[in-house]
């Protein structure tokens, strides 16, 4: 029950949307593909779903070859389920009929399941907490309820792999939090493999076992959420996930001297090689400490203050004119123009 993606490439005319992507999804694993719009994550999802065929490389699902150069098994033959960004509920079918559809028609649904499709549909609807709404039509449901129906339909035939295409992006903020918990619970209960595409790093960090960061059709880093957040492999990952500032300076062996305060030294432990090559050091806004010791940090002037309730986001300008962001608790408040010293 694993999905293997080997050196997939996809071009549209002269544009290369995917450049040699390799990835394995193990049984029961929850993988999030995270990246900005245009990074190729949706293209990758559509290749795995079977709506497109790769220009090069191979995709196999559950031991079966699904896609290769100029070959693509049709989506209806692949053992997958999918939650669409727009939900894609059929407007003329009731909730029950939506869920029964894959049970009845999907070639991978077991005979046993097909024989008792009403029972299976009820079971899945109960799982997503919609047992009481089975006879409603899609237009009679709220956004969150539609999302649950889409989820139930995708799970109904017990697919080997569940694809989710930014499933929470059309819900409001509060509902998104609830649905994150819900999806996580369902993942635990069903033990299905999930490939979850999103541009929201919060969703990826909260739910995934592993995160795949993509940029310009390439994988930047694959790793557990803590790895991605605490030990980014590239400046892009550090900036996109951790909102880190790349401090300019010089590396000597395993120590770093910031350009704005050459007498200060930072340890290079856990910092990836790619930063050393570019002579920079990533620091997340929450890592900074404000110090009274002006010799032990970077001197800077406050240029912007954003009050957020539980903390305050500051922007400062360092001596070498670099912009740096940092977050501080609300008990001390600095004014625009004030001098501070930033340390690690």
């Amino acid at each position: 029950m694993t999905t293997h993606i080997q050196q997939i490439r996809k071009s549209f005319g002269s544009f290369e949307a995917l450049k040699s992507i390799s990835l394995s999804i193990e049984k029961g694993e929850f993988i999030a593909i995270l990246g900005p719009s245009g990074c190729g994550k949706t293209t990758l999802l559509r290749l795995i779903a079977g709506f497109d065929s790769p220009t090069d490389g191979e995709i196999s699902i559950d031991g079966e070859l699904a896609g290769a150069a100029h070959y693509s098994s049709p989506p209806e033959k692949r053992n997958i389920g999918m939650v669409f960004q727009s939900f894609a509920l059929w407007p003329h079918l009731s909730v029950r009929k939506q869920v029964e559809f894959p049970i009845q028609h999907h070639p991978h649904a077991s005979k046993e399941m097909k024989a008792h499709k009403e029972k299976r549909a009820e079971e899945v609807l109960k799982l997503v907490g919609l047992g009481h709404l089975a006879d409603r039509m899609p237009n009679e449901l709220s956004g969150g309820q539609k999302q649950r129906v889409a989820l139930a339909r995708a799970l109904a035939h017990e697919p080997a792999l569940l694809l989710m295409d930014e499933p929470l992006s059309s819900l409001d903020a509060e509902l998104r939090e609830d649905m994150r918990r819900e999806i996580q619970t369902i993942h635990r209960m069903t033990g299905s493999s999930i490939l979850y595409v999103t541009h929201d790093q919060g969703e990826a960090l909260a739910m995934a076992d592993r995160i795949v960061i993509m940029k310009d059709g390439r994988i930047e880093q694959i790793g557990a959420p803590e790895d991605i957040y605490l030990r980014p492999a590239t400046p892009f990952v550090a900036g996109f996930v951790g909102k880190a500032t790349m401090i300019e300076g010089t590396w000597t062996n395993d120590t770093f001297k910031p350009a704005a305060a050459p007498e200060v030294t930072w340890s290079g432990q856990g910092i990836h090689d790619s930063f050393r090559q570019d002579d920079m050091y990533p620091v997340r806004p929450d890592q900074w400490i404000l110090t009274e010791d002006t010799q032990n940090g970077i001197p800077a002037t406050i240029t912007n203050v954003l009050y957020q309730g539980k903390d305050i986001h500051y922007t400062v300008k360092a001596a070498n004119n670099q912009q740096i962001s940092f977050i501080q608790p609300i008990h001390t408040r600095y004014q625009i123009g004030e001098q501070v010293t930033l340390a690690l």
Partner: protein, 571 residues
């Protein structure tokens, strides 16, 4: 080695990219939709076997050709003006004002468009006749008032404008609704008065749409045959469409090349108009938002009730009163008698419905023609629409343009092209299609195919591609996908296209007036012949039956669609 394979694979992949099925489709489309037009055009440049411009130079030297062209210009421009004014007025009223009962009002606005234009003409000639209640009423008033003579240029302009203002209305009302209200508010908050907002923001934004609607009416006025045939021929005012008809029917020397020459003139203006209209619509689409805004932007305040009463009186006079006078004429024992109890009879209805074989034959013919045309267009048109929507390649777009050609041409021109094409589909071979009902089937199917293609494309545009993708993901084979998902979702849109095809084909007059033969008469033709022979009581009775049948069918379709919409709303 690699070099050799590459060089060899190029021509191979070219043939691979044009599939045999695509090639066949292209040939069929060109043969049925394009070739007739090419033949018509080429015939206008041939005289006694030689390629020449003499047809044009001869005809353009005749004074009566110029008089006829002048008539055509006045008639088309005048009626377009009437249609634009009426259409704009009602569009503004329905889109922006706060009057009530807009749904019903829209239905009444559409009546002159839904009823065939020759029946509208017939009803108005009854109203303006010497024995109508209007004439009695005018005599009752002081002064020497008489009903207007509709058998005149003014009459043609009025009836054409009336028949085609709903086109302008339909087009303009959605354009007006799609102009974002924010833009008007932005102008107001920048200090513009309501009048200035209309002049500086609303009108410029609506202009491409308005012009598009106006050109649509222009083309329809140019194309129309029924109205100038009913009013212009008796009055001796020939215009392009009736002139072509009279050339062909008159069978004079060189009639066909003369008719072909006039047809090329008519077709050129019509196609030019269509091309400009298409460009304008494309331009206006760039300005639009997707959403239509239905809430009123202008309030009549306390005057609302007064305005409503005035508008309804006006609308009922335009649409219902003439139909009533037609109904009254059909009930009178003999034409010319006053409308009184002792003169009333149903015998004309008995005659047309039960006693006259020609009428029954025509009803049967028209039902069969409309039925087969609708079915063929529904299947082929939907297939073409699906290919066009899912694979919008340059070739598929060109094919759509070709299919649209017979409808973009005036009906009279298409009829003539059909004669030239099917008399001898391949030079030297006459399969006997011309002179039978088969040529009407071919003409109707090619002419109305685009209506179904457009209807089905609209229906498909309203169904998100993810609906189909979801069907694939959840295991549906192609057959299951169509039966359970696509067909139910597309059906309402497909049916309104099919309904339009059926109705237009059922009451078609222009094409059949040239292509009919003994035994293949159509409803429109029989009404036309009754009227030309002076049997007004029969023509009005038959027309009343047709109008009733149309309104009844519409009511059924309306109820069906309402029931469907209640069940399925956008998810």
């Amino acid at each position: 080695m690699q070099h050799v394979t590459r060089g060899g694979s190029r021509p191979l992949s070219f043939f691979k990219s044009v599939k045999p099925s695509t090639l066949l489709l292209t040939i069929v489309v060109i043969f049925f939709f394009v070739l007739p037009v090419i033949r018509l055009f080429s015939l206008s440049f041939v005289d006694e076997g030689a390629v020449t411009l003499s047809n044009y130079s001869e005809m353009l030297q005749e004074a009566r050709t110029w008089r006829m062209l002048e008539n055509t210009a006045w008639m088309v421009l005048g009626s377009t003006f009437v249609a634009v004014i009426l259409g704009l007025f009602f569009a503004w009223l329905i889109a922006y004002s706060d009057i009530r009962g807009k749904g019903l009002m829209q239905l009444f606005i559409l009546i002159p468009f839904i009823i065939p234009s020759y029946i509208v003409t017939l009803s108005w000639t009854q109203l303006m006749g010497r024995n109508s209640f209007l004439a009695d009423f005018l005599q009752f008033l002081p002064g020497d008032l008489e009903p207007v003579n509709l058998y005149s240029m003014g009459g043609m302009i009025f009836i054409l404008g009336l028949s085609h203002f709903p086109l302008v209305y339909l087009f303009t009302v959605s354009v007006l609704r799609k102009i974002p209200r924010d833009l008007e508010w932005a102008a107001r908050s920048s200090g513009a008065s309501p009048g200035k907002v209309f002049a500086k923001v609303t009108l410029p934004l609506a202009l491409p749409g308005l012009a598009g609607g106006g050109l649509l009416a222009f083309i329809a006025n140019l194309d129309n045959f029924g109205i100038p045939a009913f009013l212009g021929i008796p009055a001796g005012i020939p215009v392009l469409s009736t002139a072509i008809y009279q050339e062909v029917v008159g069978f004079g020397p060189g009639a066909f090349s003369r008719a072909a020459t006039l047809s090329v003139l008519l077709a050129t203006v019509a196609l030019l108009g269509t091309a400009i209209q298409w460009l304008l619509v494309r331009k206006s689409k760039q300005l639009e938002t997707v959403q239509q805004d239905y809430s009123p932007r202008f309030s009549f305040g306390k005057k609302r009730l007064g305005v409503e009463i005035m508008v309804w009186l006006f609308l009922i006079t335009l649409t219902i009163v003439p139909v009533i006078s037609m109904l009254m004429s059909s009930l009178i024992r003999a034409y010319g008698l006053p409308f009184a109890a002792e003169n009333l009879t149903l015998s004309h209805y008995v005659f047309v419905l039960a006693e006259n074989d020609r009428v029954q034959g025509a009803i049967l013919n028209s039902l069969m023609l409309a039925g087969v045309t609708t079915l063929v267009c529904l299947i082929v048109g939907t297939a073409l629409a699906y290919v066009r929507t899912r694979k919008p390649t340059a070739l598929n777009r060109t094919l759509e343009l070709f299919v649209a050609l017979p409808y973009a041409l005036p009906g009279m021109v298409l009829a003539l092209a059909m004669i030239f094409m099917w008399l001898q589909p391949i030079p030297g071979w006459n399969p006997g299609i011309y002179g039978t009902i088969t040529i009407l089937f071919i003409a109707y199917i090619t002419r109305f195919m685009i209506l179904q293609v457009r209807g089905s494309i609209t229906a498909m545009a309203q169904v998100d591609p993810s609906m189909e993708e979801a069907a694939h993901i959840f295991g549906a084979r192609p057959f299951v996908k169509w039966r359970r998902i696509l067909f139910p979702l597309l059906l309402p849109g497909m049916l309104s296209g099919a309904f339009l095809v059926f109705l237009t084909a059922l009451t078609e007059l222009t094409v059949s007036s040239l292509l009919w033969s003994s035994g293949s008469e159509t409803i429109g033709l029989v009404i036309f012949n009754f009227e030309q022979a002076g049997y007004s009581t029969y023509s009005t009775a038959f027309s009343t039956v047709i109008v009733t049948a149309i309104l009844f069918t519409m009511l059924i379709l309306y109820a069906l669609q309402k029931a469907w919409k209640k069940k399925v709303k956008e998810a």
